[in-house]
C-alpha cells in the first residue's frame, strides 16, 4: 500500500488556521532551518481514506478473540472512552492551580484508593506511563530503601526466575543491580532450594509474577517472600498477571512490598497499537516516602519529599488512562472485580480443557488465567512449529497466542482468553485451534508459508534487520 508521502500532490492542503491577526514576526534568517520538513501535501479526504485503508490492515479486540498470553487483551469498554473525552479532563493544563483541578485530583485519589484495596498496598503513584516504567519505579523504591539503610552498596543483586518477563532483568540492570537468574521448577514456580542458595547479604530483592508465566499460582508464595525478607531483601510483584486474582488474593497478603499494575491490561484501558498504557505503582507504608510525587509542587525547582526517588515522568503521568481505569472500577464494583477474575480463570480452563486432547500442555491440571501449550514434539517429528500454528490462526481470522514465551518451554504457545469472551467464542476458538493443528501436521511444508490470506505473507525479517530501512525517502 502507498505511503502518505507517495499520495502527496503539490499544493494540496486544507485551511485549518485563519490568517494571523497580529503583526507577523520574522526571525533572523540565521535562526531558521534551511529547508522545510517534507510533510505530505494532502486533502483531508486523502488522509481520511488513507487511515481507513490502514485500519482495514489492522486487527483489533473488536475483530475477535485476542488470546495473547500475559497481555490480557480484554474488551475495552466504550463508556471509558467517552469519559476520557470529557473536556473537563482533556482541556486541563497540568500546571493549573490546584483549586482548579480538584476533579482531576479526585479521579487520581479514588483510583489510588481502589487499587490499594485490590492489591493490599498502602500507597500508590500513577506517574509511571507503562508497566516497564512501573517496574523501574518500583525497583527504585527498593534501591532507595537499601540506600537509606546504608546497604545500597552491598545489596546489589536482584533475583529473577528464568521464566520471568524480559522487562524484569532489564529493569534490574537499569537500577544498577546484578541480575541473578534462578531456575524454575517445571511448572514455572520458584525452586525453593535454588532460591535459598541464591539469597544472601547481597540480595536487594526478588522480582516475581504470581500467577507465573505458565499460568500457575505459586503455592509456596508466602514461603518465598519469607525467604527474601529473612535475607534482608524486599519483594517486588510484577502485576502483569493480576487479572487472574484481583478481588480474590492480594499481592500485599502474599508478602510483596511493592507492585506495579498495568492499567492497560487488568483495568481494561485500550492498548492503542502499543500504547499509551499506565503502570500504577503501589507499596507498603514503609516505602511510601520514596514514591515520586504525583503533583509537581512548585516551579522552578521541583520539590519532592525528602526521600523521594524523584520524578519518573513529566507532570502526573498518563492521566486519561487513569480516568478510563476509574470508570472501569466504578462499573465493576466489589463484586464485579472478583467475578471478572474468576471468569478469566474459568475461561482459560475451559479453553484449555477443549484443547487438551489436541495440544500438549506444558502443565496438566487447572491453570489460572492463562496456559501454555508446546509444539516441541511435533516440531521435532514433523517440522511444524509454534510459529506455523500462529500464522495458521491468522488465516482463520483470529489473533494467535503469545509464542516462544516463556523461554523455559520450547515451542511455546501461551493463551490468555480473558473474561470477556463468551462460551461460543471459546468453543469456536478451540475448533479453529484444532483445525489449524491438524492442517499443520498434515502438510508441515505448506504450514511454513502461512498465512496465505492476509494482506502480506511472512515478511523478510532478516533483510529488515541487516539492511534497515527505517524511513521513507523520495526517489529524487
Amino acid at each position: 500500500m502507498e505511503l502518505l508521502f507517495e499520495k502527496s500532490r503539490p499544493g494540496r492542503s486544507h485551511g485549518y488556521l485563519p490568517a494571523c491577526d497580529t503583526p507577523v514576526y520574522s526571525f533572523d534568517s540565521s535562526l531558521l532551518r534551511e529547508t522545510d520538513a517534507a510533510f505530505p501535501a494532502l486533502s483531508e479526504n486523502d488522509i481520511s481514506r488513507h487511515y481507513s485503508a490502514l485500519e482495514e490492515r489492522t486487527y483489533g479486540v473488536n475483530d475477535g478473540i485476542y488470546p495473547l498470553g500475559s497481555c490480557t487483551m480484554k474488551y475495552n469498554p466504550k463508556i471509558n472512552e467517552q469519559c476520557a473525552a470529557l473536556p473537563g479532563f482533556t482541556d486541563i493544563h497540568p500546571l493549573q492551580n490546584r483549586d482548579t483541578v480538584q476533579g482531576c485530583m479526585e479521579v487520581m485519589d479514588l483510583l489510588k484508593r481502589d487499587l490499594c484495596e485490590i492489591t493490599g498496598m498502602d500507597a500508590m503513584t500513577l506517574q509511571p506511563a507503562a508497566g516497564a516504567h512501573g517496574e523501574f519505579t518500583g525497583m527504585m523504591l527498593i534501591k532507595r530503601y537499601h540506600e537509606l539503610r546504608g546497604e545500597g552498596e552491598i545489596r546489589n543483586k536482584v533475583i529473577v526466575p528464568d521464566s520471568s518477563h524480559g522487562t524484569n532483568p532489564a529493569t534490574g540492570a537499569m537500577n544498577g543491580l546484578t541480575v541473578v537468574s534462578i531456575p524454575s521448577a517445571e511448572d514455572g514456580s520458584v525452586d525453593l532450594e535454588a532460591l535459598k542458595a541464591a539469597v544472601g547479604e547481597d540480595t536487594a530483592g526478588l522480582m516475581l509474577t504470581n500467577p507465573n508465566t505458565l499460568g500457575i499460582f505459586d503455592k509456596n508464595i508466602t514461603e518465598i517472600t519469607r525467604i527474601i525478607h529473612e535475607a534482608g531483601g524486599l519483594c517486588y510483584y510484577d502485576g502483569a498477571n493480576l487479572n487472574a486474582v484481583m478481588g480474590v488474593v492480594r499481592p500485599g497478603d502474599m508478602g510483596f512490598d511493592c507492585i506495579h499494575l498495568n492499567l492497560h491490561k487488568t483495568f481494561s484501558t485500550p492498548h492503542g497499537g502499543g500504547g499509551p498504557g499506565a503502570g500504577a505503582v503501589g507499596c507498603k507504608e514503609f516505602l511510601k516516602d520514596y514514591l515520586p510525587e504525583d503533583i509537581s509542587a512548585a516551579y522552578p525547582g521541583v520539590c519532592f519529599g525528602e526521600n523521594s526517588i524523584g520524578k519518573v515522568r513529566s507532570f502526573q503521568g498518563n492521566f486519561l488512562v487513569a480516568v478510563r481505569a476509574l470508570a472501569y472500577v466504578l462499573s465493576l464494583g466489589r463484586e464485579g472485580v472478583r467475578k471478572s477474575a474468576q471468569t478469566a480463570v474459568l475461561n482459560a480452563n475451559y479453553l484449555k480443557a477443549l484443547l487438551a486432547d489436541t495440544y500438549e500442555m506444558a502443565n496438566p491440571g487447572l491453570c489460572m488465567h492463562e496456559f501454555v501449550m508446546t509444539m516441541q514434539k511435533e516440531h521435532k517429528e514433523t517440522g511444524a512449529s509454534a510459529l506455523d500454528i500462529a500464522k495458521g490462526l491468522l488465516d482463520e481470522g483470529i489473533h494467535p497466542p503469545t509464542i516462544y514465551f516463556p523461554l523455559i518451554v520450547h515451542e511455546a504457545l501461551m493463551a490468555e482468553p480473558t473474561e470477556t469472551e463468551s462460551r461460543e467464542s471459546l468453543e469456536k476458538t478451540a475448533d479453529i485451534f484444532r483445525r489449524v493443528y491438524e492442517k499443520a501436521l498434515a502438510d508441515p511444508e505448506a504450514a511454513h508459508h502461512w498465512p496465505v490470506s492476509a494482506v502480506i505473507g511472512r515478511p523478510d525479517e532478516v533483510t529488515a534487520a541487516r539492511k534497515p530501512v527505517l524511513r521513507w525517502h523520495s526517489d529524487n
Binding site: 494571523c20 469519559c83 540492570a173 499460582f217 478481588g247 500504547g275 465493576l332
Partner: protein, 437 residues
C-alpha cells in the same frame, strides 16, 4: 454492576463440567486457603453505565476549563484538526496490541513507519524510534544511549524543563551515574560554564530548544563545544518550533528528542503525551524501544515489521539498554495525522503565528510596564517582571476566564501564546494586567 461478562448459569455449568470441577471456587484450589481474601474487597458497589457517566461528568465538572490559555511550560494548547481525534478513535487502532504479528498489523506498522519518517523530517535526523513515554523520559533515554564504560557523566542545561532535569536525575541515580547542571545566564545556557564542566568522562550534553524560559539557545555553539570534548550532543526540541527553526541536525546534534504533545494531543492534565527520539545513523542500534522497518514478504510485496528487535528487553534481558516495551503508539499516530493534515505549511504556520502572537503580547506587556526579564530572542514563551506581584496578576486574569502564565517567582511570570489565542484575547489580557498594574 456493569461487568462485561456474558455467561449465564447454564454456560457456567457446562464449562465447569467440561473442566471437571464442581464449582467456580474450585478454580482457585491452588491458592493456599489462608491467602484467600475473606469476603469481597472493600470497594464501592458497581454502577450502571448511566451512573458511571454521571459520576465521571461530575468529577470533570470540578475542574476549571479556560477559554484562553497563556500557560505553556511544557504543555501547549494548539489547534487540533478534527480529523486527528477521529482517526485515533478508530476501534482497531485504539484496541490493537503491539504489532508483533506483522501480517495482520500492517496498518499500525505502516503508520509508525510514516511517523518515523515525519520525525526524521522534522528534526533532520536519520532515524527515529516508534516513541517513548514523554519528552522527559526521552531525554533520560537519550542520556543512557550515550553512556559507556569510559564516559558516564551527563551535563544538562539548567534552562531545560524542570521535569526533564528531574527525570534525567532519577534515571541517572538509578544507573549510578553522574548528572550535572550547566548553569543558566540571562535565560540561556551559560556556554562558558559548559566548556569548563566538560571533561574526558562526559558522555553527553543536553540542551533544550527553545528552553524552559522560551529562549532560543545558541545550539550550534553548544554542540561545537560538546563535540570538542568528544561528548555527544543531545537536543530536546519543541516540535512546533522545529518546523521553523534550525533543525537539531543543522545544529550538529547526535540525538534529537522532545515532547510531542503539541503535535495534536490535548493538554489532558499531563498525559498521555509522546516522547519522540531521533538520531544520527551511527547511533541507530542504541535507540531504545520499538522501531519499524520496511521489507518485503515472500512474494515481494511491500511489508513493514518491528525490526532491530535484538536491542530490546524481550531478547536481550539484562543486557538491554532500556526496559521499555509499551510506548505511546496511539499518540504517535495522532502526531502523524496532525503533521499530515497540517502539512509542511500548516505546521510552520502554527509556529509562525505562535511566535508572532507571543512577540505581540510581549511588546504590549512591555508598554504596560511588564518588562521582559531576559534580553535574547525567544520563540512563543517569555518571562516578564510583574510589578503588582504574580499572584495578583494571575488572579485578575482568572476572573476573566484567562489562564495566565506560570509563576516563576513572586514577581515573575513565564507566558506562552499559541496560534489559538486571538489578538482580541491578548488585548483583553493586557488590559486586565494594566488595571492591576
Amino acid at each position: 454492576m456493569g461487568n462485561y461478562l456474558s455467561h449465564n448459569e447454564e454456560d457456567i455449568r457446562i464449562m465447569l463440567d467440561t473442566i471437571g470441577i464442581g464449582s467456580e471456587e474450585a478454580l482457585y484450589s491452588a491458592v493456599p486457603e489462608g491467602l484467600m481474601l475473606k469476603g469481597l474487597p472493600d470497594l464501592p458497589e458497581g454502577l450502571s453505565e448511566m451512573e458511571v457517566r454521571k459520576e465521571m461528568k461530575k468529577l470533570a465538572g470540578k475542574n476549571k476549563v479556560y477559554d484562553t490559555v497563556l500557560l505553556g511550560a511544557g504543555a501547549y494548547k494548539h489547534y487540533i484538526p478534527a480529523i486527528v481525534s477521529e482517526v485515533i478513535a478508530k476501534e482497531r487502532f485504539l484496541t490493537a496490541y503491539t504489532p508483533y504479528q506483522a501480517e495482520i498489523s500492517q496498518g499500525i506498522l505502516q503508520s509508525i513507519f510514516e511517523y518515523q519518517t515525519m520525525i526524521c523530517e522534522l528534526t533532520g535526523m536519520d532515524v527515529a524510534n516508534a516513541s517513548v513515554y514523554d519528552g522527559a523520559s526521552a531525554a533520560a533515554e537519550a542520556a543512557a544511549m550515550c553512556r559507556d564504560r569510559k564516559r558516564s557523566k551527563v551535563l544538562v542545561s539548567a534552562a531545560a524543563h524542570p521535569d526533564t532535569i528531574a527525570v534525567m536525575k532519577t534515571y541517572a541515580w538509578a544507573a549510578g551515574s553522574e548528572l550535572a547542571l550547566i548553569p543558566e545566564k540571562d535565560g540561556v545556557t551559560d556556554l562558558v560554564a559548559l566548556a569548563s564542566l566538560l571533561d574526558d568522562k562526559t558522555a553527553a550534553v543536553l540542551i533544550q530548544q527553545p528552553n524552559f524560559f522560551g529562549m532560543i539557545e545558541d545550539a550550534e555553539k553548544a554542540g561545537e563545544i560538546a563535540h570538542a570534548s568528544k561528548a555527544k550532543f543531545i537536543m530536546s526540541v519543541n516540535p512546533i518550533s522545529a518546523a521553523l527553526l534550525k533543525t537539531p541536525a543543522e545544529c550538529g546534534a547526535d540525538i534529537a528528542v522532545g515532547e510531542g504533545q503539541p503535535l495534536g494531543m490535548p493538554l489532558s492534565f499531563g498525559g498521555p503525551y509522546l516522547g519522540f527520539m531521533a538520531a544520527q545513523a551511527g547511533m541507530m542500534r542504541k535507540l531504545p524501544g520499538r522501531i519499524v522497518g520496511e521489507t518485503k514478504d515472500e512474494q515481494g510485496r511491500r511489508a513493514f515489521v518491528l525490526t532491530l528487535q535484538a536491542r530490546e528487553q524481550h531478547i536481550k534481558r539484562e543486557k538491554a539498554g532500556s526496559n521499555i516495551c509499551s510506548n505511546e503508539a496511539l499518540c504517535a499516530m495522532a502526531a502523524s495525522v496532525y503533521m499530515a493534515a497540517m502539512g509542511r505549511d500548516g505546521v510552520k504556520q502554527a509556529a509562525i503565528q505562535s511566535a508572532s502572537k507571543a512577540h505581540y503580547f510581549a511588546e504590549e506587556l512591555g508598554k504596560a510596564g511588564f518588562a521582559r526579564l531576559h534580553t535574547g530572542e525567544f520563540f512563543h514563551e517569555f518571562v516578564t517582571k510583574v510589578p503588582c506581584g504574580a499572584d495578583q496578576a494571575l488572579a485578575a486574569l482568572d476572573e476573566k476566564g484567562i489562564l495566565g502564565g506560570l509563576k516563576l517567582s513572586e514577581d515573575t511570570i513565564l507566558w506562552c501564546v499559541t496560534e489559538l489565542v486571538s489578538k482580541a484575547e491578548i488585548d483583553l489580557a493586557v488590559s486586565v494586567l494594566k488595571e492591576v498594574g
